[in-house]
Point group: C3
Chain length 172, copies 3
């Protein structure tokens, strides 16, 4: 059993129950979850979201409605990850601080992007494929690169993409 | 069942049938597919290719013969991914444009690379691990970085790798 | 069966046996392995390590005790990966050179990082999320970016993270 203790709303679709690991999370109505996805306890996914294959959503992540998460996207919640404490004991629930991530309505996160702990991604924002997001992303803003930097409004990005070479800048 | 409606040629090897998600695709003779791989409908894989674990090949991707795809490689086909249309309805097959990706014979794509929509990767080209490919890659050319830039011919790259420090430049 | 011919020490925990692919490897006491992880033959994991979801550890990788590996981390061992030899025959075990990777005690590797072949990551080192590691990382050193560059000692990094904006530099 790889879907455990989840609140899954009406119309939500998990394409392959045998190829996901979902536990203790909430999935909103009509959202769709691809294969090889892990969603941890306490994660809240809004309505009509799409979570593509190979992505990982950790505790502390909240997606508002209509958010797109590409393939291989990794969220994080621990700024100082470690396997053990200073005394060599295994780290446990009380041995770290969860920094929460919030993604606004209608935002889109490109494939293989990495989201550092504690950031807020604004409504309608676009994160380019392969970007490493280290700061908050304002609403309707497109960011790309490592570390991710703003390259214009998400609307301007869409326009650029229709006119040749600039498209590559927008989505890389 | 996680291998569905595929044309799988003689000699092709899927290491773990229970840990892949393949549907509606063609796999050429003697090609090998690792675990945690998704290959979508309409994707065409040539002969003697190797698709390593954790990679995602989307609709519109064609690999010629003898292509190597590393681990965690993400192909993309939608320049403006979104979960919903402007009116809030779920995006459907007719609501987006698939941009096709073509990879030439004998090319090699390093692990964790990201391939933006619509690019052509030439025969014998090498994409460094972790690169984000935003433009076409000429034949026998090595590209690295974010965004990916040419650093020489694939042949020159191989030579550099045998002579110390430059190897890191080539494969990063 | 997706766990095969492994030496798994007392107290080691594989969260989802059905969602991993482990073969011919050694897992030390009290180590923890997440879902969607592949660990290849000849890989040695020390005690009290944590290997997070979606990561790939190839032949030739050795982790000392108390190493943390984030999500979506890809190790590599072949500087010139290819699907076939020059004569078109499939590459086999004798057709390539495995370059070994060693990770020192207590090191932490961030999510979506890529580790190029043959590097040594020192004890207590920190690799930022999304980094592409092309050179050795000295002990207690933090590296970030593509290619990964040192930004201070791991200890200084931890301190910076408690004081605002610099934290983003450290962990990106």
């Amino acid at each position: 059993m790889t879907v455990k203790n989840c609140l899954i709303a009406r119309g939500a679709l998990i394409y392959q129950h045998d190829l996901v690991n979902l536990y203790g999370c909430e999935i909103g109505a009509d959202s769709r979850i691809g294969p090889f996805v892990e969603i941890q306890e306490g994660c809240v996914i809004g309505e009509r979201c799409k979570i593509s294959s190979h992505s990982f959503l950790c505790e502390g992540v909240t997606l508002e409605d209509e958010v797109f998460v590409g393939h291989g996207v990794m969220f994080t919640n621990d700024r100082h990850p470690a396997s053990t404490n200073a005394d060599g004991s295994l780290k446990d629930a009380q041995d770290w601080t969860c920094e929460r991530t919030h993604v606004g309505r209608g935002a889109a996160i490109g494939s293989n992007a990495t989201i550092l702990p504690g950031v807020t991604i604004g409504k309608g924002a676009v994160v380019g494929a392969g970007a490493v997001v280290t700061h908050d992303v304002p609403e309707n803003t497109t960011v790309i690169g490592v570390p991710a930097r703003a390259v214009g409004t998400a609307k301007a990005g869409a326009k650029a993409a229709r006119h040749g070479d600039a498209q590559h800048k927008v989505m890389s």
